[in-house]
């Protein structure tokens, strides 16, 4: 199996993960969507130096990984391409913000380092939360939930097609790299002189394919509503999940939990 086929198989397993059964999987997509959005908003709202306040927010994804049975490894393995990008965001902070704001023994830490770490952690937390949503909820259900709260049809359809398009893109890429290597045996990677035409081809071919898929959807009654992915009604457990999630986030955000714990142990 070449790298691309592997990437494709991985995307396939995204669907397999979301088809598993667990008490998280069985929750209403709307509840999970709402809690995920709340989580991301609250994580992003932490102050740029509040690293110690942010760390307890790890609790939520860790809990979800536990209960849903989704392996943490899978998450980081799948996100290995995006993770460095997210981590790179705060990389320059230490150069701009040199004011010392923390001393641990003889070690002095500048604001830039703290804000870099905070930003990185924020990125990782948000990625994990989004991953958990997609890994525990079939994608069409998420779209149905978005429609239920009156997200614009066109936007939701675009989102769904993007999700499918990623699959098409990797498949086309697999076919094309294979064809390339059959004609250039023994060559590692794709020669730089072929990149331009290769990318152009890839784009054209995958656009064609995406169009076919959209046509196939239209021909079977898709009208940008998501009746085929309709959910049951909100149940007690969905309300409970939402309330527990959101109040926990608020608690972690506005009560200095690590400070409290710290003083508890120090005393």
């Amino acid at each position: 199996m070449n790298k691309m086929e592997k990437a494709l198989a991985e995307l396939g397993t995204m669907d397999e993960l979301s088809a598993r059964k667990s008490s998280i999987h069985s929750l209403h997509a709307g509840a999970k969507l709402l809690v995920t959005v709340a989580y991301i908003v609250i994580v992003m709202s932490f102050h740029k130096y509040d690293l110690s306040g942010l760390i307890p927010m790890l609790l939520w994804p860790v809990l979800l990984f536990q209960i849903s049975g989704i392996p943490v490894r899978t998450c980081f393995y799948k996100l290995r391409i995006v993770l460095p990008l997210v981590m790179a965001v705060g990389l320059f902070n230490p150069f701009f913000d040199r004011e010392i704001i923390l001393r641990v023994g003889s070690l002095s830490v500048s604001g830039g380092v703290i804000s870099m770490l905070t930003l990185m952690l924020k990125g990782v937390l948000c990625l994990m939360a989004s991953f958990l949503l997609v890994a525990t909820t079939p994608f069409d259900r998420i779209c149905a939930a978005l429609r239920a709260v009156h997200f614009p049809k066109t936007l939701v359809t675009l989102l769904l097609l993007t999700y499918r398009y990623v699959g098409v893109l990797t498949r086309e890429l697999a076919v094309m790299t294979e064809a390339y290597h059959l004609r250039a045996p023994g060559q590692k990677g794709i020669h730089i002189s072929a990149w331009g035409s290769f990318l152009g081809q890839l784009l054209l071919r995958s656009m064609d394919r995406a169009q076919e898929i959209y046509a196939a959807m239209l021909l079977r009654g898709y009208d940008r509503e998501f009746r085929y992915a309709a959910e049951r009604r909100f149940a007690m457990k969905d309300v409970a999940y939402t309330l527990i999630g959101v109040s926990l986030f608020l608690l972690l955000r506005f009560v200095n939990v690590s400070g409290l714990l710290g003083s508890l142990f120090v005393r």
Binding site: D15, M217, Y228
Partner: protein, 239 residues
């Protein structure tokens, strides 16, 4: 019923690929649409489904093809795409089969019953909960047919249904096609398959009809076929 009345069509690139095309297919007929690569077979199907619009008049599923009738026409017409990967866009066979019935307002229980009934008819029960990306080419084609039958269409259009299938799966598909009672239009250059499944053949050449008649007669015309980059079916050339 399907009818083309002086239909012409050109892609944006300008070249006219369907020229003044007229033909009629009665309800219940099985018609093979043959012709060289690029003759316009796939374009005819897309016109019939309102995925493309040209000049002239088209009657599809007994209705005049226009914006207002389009949803009903599409509901009554099943299209088996050449590439099953594009047809099977949901995670599992079951999800894909439920897609159309649920979109058309059927309850989950009704849809489920229909899915089971189709799977049983095609002897595909074992694939019900399979992931599409794990199916073999032959299985995927059969599953694609199943998703279409779950719509209970009046007319079935198939674009190259035997392309890229091994001999075993090819025979299986032919058997299944023959088991379908709907009006069928099958585009292909697999002339042996056409001979086995269709009583009538329309030969397209550069967007025009080069021949239209009984399958055995058209498919026996060596000179005509060769002029269209096609070959006599094996079963007819042996004698």
């Amino acid at each position: 019923m399907i009818e083309f009345k002086k239909v012409s069509f050109a892609y944006e690139t300008g070249k006219e690929v369907i020229r003044d095309l007229s033909f009629t297919i009665r309800g219940g007929e099985a018609v093979g649409l043959i012709g060289a690569n690029g003759a316009g077979k796939s374009t005819v199907m897309k016109l019939l489904l309102g995925l493309l619009f040209g000049e002239g008049e088209i009657i599809s599923a007994g209705l005049r093809l226009d914006k207002a009738n389009l949803p009903l026409i599409r509901r009554k017409t099943g299209f088996i795409l050449q590439d099953s990967d594009d047809q099977m866009f949901m995670p599992t066979v079951y999800d894909d089969m439920m897609f159309a019935p649920l979109n058309y307002g059927m309850t989950k229980e009704e849809a489920e019953r229909r899915v089971d009934e189709v799977l049983e008819r095609l002897e595909l029960q074992a694939l019900k909960h399979s992931y599409n990306h794990k199916l073999s080419g032959g299985e995927k084609k059969m599953a694609a047919i199943a998703t279409i039958l779950a719509m209970e269409p009046e007319t079935i259009l198939m674009d190259e249904p035997t392309a890229a299938l091994d001999p075993y799966n090819r025979r299986l598909i032919i058997r299944r096609i023959n088991g379908l009672s709907q009006t069928k239009l099958i585009a292909s250059h697999d002339l042996d398959m056409i001979l086995d499944t269709c009583e009538r053949v329309i030969l397209l050449s550069e967007g025009r009809i080069a021949a239209d008649g009984k399958a055995e007669e058209v498919l026996r015309d060596k000179a005509l076929l060769e002029a269209n980059h096609l070959e006599l079916p094996l079963s007819l050339s042996r004698r």
